[in-house]
C-alpha cells in the first residue's frame, strides 16, 4: 500500500488534489481512499489531506501516520509545521518552490523533487499572483516525480473533477510534468506492493 500526505493552505486546493489523484489512480485500476485531515478548514491556515492506494481493497480507516510520499503546496509550511513527521526513510517529498531540491536536503534522508507550481498556475490563470491555485500543477509534477500514475490519467481526472477552467488546469498539469526537477539519485519509485 502507498500512503500519501498533502500539505497546503486553505484555498490552495490540497483536499481537491487528493480527490483528483484518487480518481486518476482509480482509473488505472488501483483501489483508493482519499480524505482530508478531519477538522475545520480556514483560508490560509495549514490544511492536510491524505490518500491511500493499493492493488486490493483498502481496509484501514484511520489517519496516515507514516506516509511514503509528501506533497507540499506552500514551502512556508516547512517552517510552520513538522511536515516530515512520520515520513518513511527515502520517502518522496515534492515541494512547490522555485528553488532546487538541493536547497531542502536538510529535511532528512528523503528524496526531494521541486516544481515552481505557483508560477505555472499563475501563467495558466489559476488564482492570482498572491493566491495561486497550485493543486493541478502539483499533480502533473507528482505524476512525473512518483511514477505511480500517468500524466494522461491525471489530466483526465482533472477534466472530470474541475467544473470550470478545466483546460487551464490540464495545461498546468502538463507543463509541471515537464518542468519538475527530480531527486538527484533516482527518478521514481513505482512499487505499490512494497
Amino acid at each position: 500500500m502507498l500512503e500519501i500526505r498533502i500539505h497546503g493552505r486553505g484555498g490552495q486546493g490540497a483536499v481537491i488534489a487528493s480527490k483528483v489523484l484518487a480518481s486518476a489512480l482509480f482509473m488505472e485500476g488501483k483501489w483508493v481512499q482519499s480524505f482530508p485531515a478531519f477538522g475545520v478548514e480556514r483560508r490560509g491556515a495549514p490544511v492536510t489531506a491524505f490518500l491511500r492506494a493499493d492493488d486490493e481493497p483498502i481496509l484501514l480507516r484511520c489517519q496516515i501516520y507514516h506516509p511514503d510520499h509528501l506533497m507540499i503546496l506552500d514551502p512556508t509550511l516547512i517552517e510552520a509545521v513538522n511536515v516530515t513527521d512520520g515520513l518513511k526513510e527515502n520517502g518522496l517529498i515534492l515541494i512547490n518552490t522555485e528553488k532546487s531540491p538541493a536547497h531542502f536536503m536538510g529535511l532528512g534522508p528523503f528524496r526531494i523533487a521541486t516544481v515552481d507550481a505557483s508560477n505555472i498556475a499563475v501563467r495558466h490563470h489559476l488564482g492570482t499572483a498572491e493566491h495561486p491555485i497550485v493543486n493541478t500543477a502539483i499533480l502533473g509534477a507528482y505524476a512525473k516525480a512518483s511514477g505511480i500514475v500517468s500524466l494522461d490519467a491525471v489530466v483526465k481526472a482533472i477534466a472530470e473533477s474541475v467544473p470550470l477552467g478545466a483546460e487551464d488546469n490540464m495545461a498546468a498539469a502538463r507543463e509541471a510534468f515537464e518542468r519538475v526537477t527530480l531527486p538527484a539519485e533516482r527518478h521514481a519509485v513505482a512499487d505499490l506492493a512494497e
Binding site: 480524505f35 481496509l59 501516520y65
Partner: protein, 398 residues
C-alpha cells in the same frame, strides 16, 4: 458504474436512486453535503422531488412526517445535536408507522463541542421505534440507503441509516452505483396502506385512550420482531439484483475462532486488517460485525458467538453509569446461554479519537492475556492527566 465518491454523496445517490419524493433537512456538519447534493439535483431537475427548507431539524422531521402521511417517499439527514433536536418527532414518526428514511452521520454530542465521530447520538435514540443500521463503507452506505426504503415500507416503520463522521462522510473511495432500471425493479413506488387524502378524510393523531394505546405498542413490537427477517430478506434480494449481499451480522474468520472481536461501523474495517494479520501469525482470532442495532439480532448473535471462548466488544459510544452500548446489548443477548463466551467490554475512539490497528492489537492482547475481565470497562488509549496527545507508535499494516 464505479465512481470515487464521498460517503455523504453515497447517501445522496442512494436517496436519488430510490426516487425520494420529499426531502426536508437543516444543514449540520458533517452531514451537510448529503442534502446539499440532493438540493442541487432537485434544482437541476435531475430528481423530481420537493426539497423543503426548514428552520430546524425538529421542523425537518415534522415536514417528513407530513409528507409520509400524505403518501410520499420522504427522506432527511442529520447528525448529533440535530438528531437530538428531532427526538420528540422521532417517536411520532414511529408511532404513526411512517416509513421515513433518515441518514445520521455519527458525531459526538457537545459539550465539549465536537464535530468528530461517535455513535452515542444515534444510540441515544434507541427507544424511539426506529430501525438502526450501521454502515462500514461508502458502498454499504449507498446500498443500505436503498434497502432502507424497502424495509421501512414493508414494515411501516422508519429506518435510520448510520455512517461515521469523516471516516465515511468525508472519505472518497470507489462506489459501484447500480443503474436506475435495476433499482426500479428492486424498489417499486411507495404504496401506502393508509394515507391522508382529502377525498377520503380520516382523523390522524387523535387522542388514544388506554383502551387502544397498549395494542398499538404491541403491534410496533410485533413489527420489530418481523423486522429481522425482513432485513435479511431485503438484503438477500438486493444481493440477487446487484451481487452484494447484506444481513444482520457479518462473520469474518469465525470458523475456528477462539477470540472474537465484536465491532460496528468503520472500526470493523480496520479490525479486518488486524484479524488478517493475526491469522497470518496462526492466532485463532475472528470478527463479528453487528450491522443492525434495532431490531437487535439476539438469535443471530447467540448463534454466532456460541462456543467461542472470549469475545471483545469495541464501543465507540458510552452509556454513562453503565457500559458501552453494544456491549450491554450483547451481554443481554447471551444471558443464560450455557456456551456463551467470556465478554470483555472496550471503549475506544470517543469524539473521533483515531482507532488504529495498534488500538485493535492492544484490545486483542488484553483479551488473550486475561482469563476473565479485570475491569467492567477497558478504556483503550486513555491519556493520563497532563499527558500530551501522541501519534500511535505505528499504524502500518501491509
Amino acid at each position: 458504474m464505479k465512481k470515487v465518491m464521498m460517503g455523504n454523496h453515497a447517501v445522496s445517490y442512494g436517496a436519488r436512486l430510490s426516487r425520494v419524493q420529499v426531502i426536508s433537512a437543516y444543514p449540520i456538519t458533517p452531514q451537510t453535503q448529503i442534502v446539499e447534493e440532493l438540493s442541487e439535483l432537485c434544482a437541476r431537475g435531475e430528481l423530481e422531488a420537493k426539497f423543503i427548507k426548514v428552520e430546524s431539524e425538529h421542523s425537518a422531521m415534522a415536514a417528513c412526517i407530513g409528507a409520509s402521511a400524505g403518501g410520499a417517499r420522504a427522506f432527511t439527514a442529520t447528525s448529533s445535536q440535530g438528531l437530538a433536536l428531532m427526538h420528540e418527532l422521532l417517536h411520532w414518526a414511529a408511532g404513526a408507522r411512517l416509513p421515513i428514511v433518515l441518514a445520521n452521520v455519527n458525531r459526538a454530542m457537545g459539550p465539549g463541542w465536537s464535530i468528530w465521530s461517535e455513535q452515542t447520538d444515534s444510540l441515544a435514540q434507541r427507544d424511539t421505534g426506529w430501525l438502526q443500521i450501521y454502515c462500514e463503507s461508502n458502498q454499504e452506505v449507498l446500498d443500505t440507503t436503498i434497502q432502507a426504503f424497502k424495509i421501512a415500507e414493508t414494515l411501516s416503520l422508519p429506518v435510520m441509516v448510520i455512517l461515521d463522521a469523516f471516516f465515511l462522510s468525508h472519505t472518497y473511495e470507489p462506489v459501484d452505483i447500480p443503474d436506475q432500471r435495476g433499482i426500479d425493479r428492486f424498489l417499486p413506488p411507495f404504496q401506502p396502506k393508509v394515507k391522508m387524502d382529502i377525498r377520503d378524510p380520516h382523523a390522524f393523531g387523535a387522542l388514544v385512550t388506554p383502551e387502544h394505546y397498549y395494542e398499538f405498542r404491541y403491534n410496533i413490537q410485533k413489527a420489530f420482531e418481523r423486522a429481522t427477517g425482513v432485513i435479511e430478506e431485503v438484503g438477500r434480494e438486493f444481493g440477487e439484483h446487484f451481487g452484494r449481499y447484506y444481513g444482520l451480522l457479518e462473520e469474518y474468520e469465525m470458523d475456528d475462532a477462539e477470540i472474537v472481536l465484536v465491532t460496528s461501523s468503520t472500526i470493523t474495517s480496520t479490525a479486518r486488517a488486524v484479524v488478517r494479520e493475526r491469522r497470518a501469525r496462526g492466532e485463532k482470532i475472528g470478527l463479528l460485525k453487528v450491522r443492525v442495532f434495532r431490531p437487535f439480532p439476539f438469535a443471530a448473535i447467540r448463534q454466532a458467538l456460541s462456543g467461542v471462548r472470549k469475545a471483545a466488544v469495541i464501543d465507540r459510544n458510552i452509556s454513562f453509569g453503565h457500559h458501552g452500548i453494544f456491549f450491554s446489548e450483547i451481554k443481554s443477548a447471551l444471558y443464560g446461554q450455557p456456551d456463551a463466551p467470556r465478554l470483555f467490554g472496550f471503549i475506544a475512539g470517543l469524539g473521533g479519537r483515531d482507532v488504529t490497528p495498534e488500538t485493535i492489537h492492544d484490545i486483542i492482547d488484553i483479551t488473550q492475556h486475561e482469563s476473565k475481565p479485570q475491569q467492567d470497562i477497558y478504556w483503550i488509549g486513555l491519556k493520563s492527566a497532563g499527558q500530551k496527545a501522541t501519534a500511535p507508535k505505528t499504524a502500518a499494516v501491509k
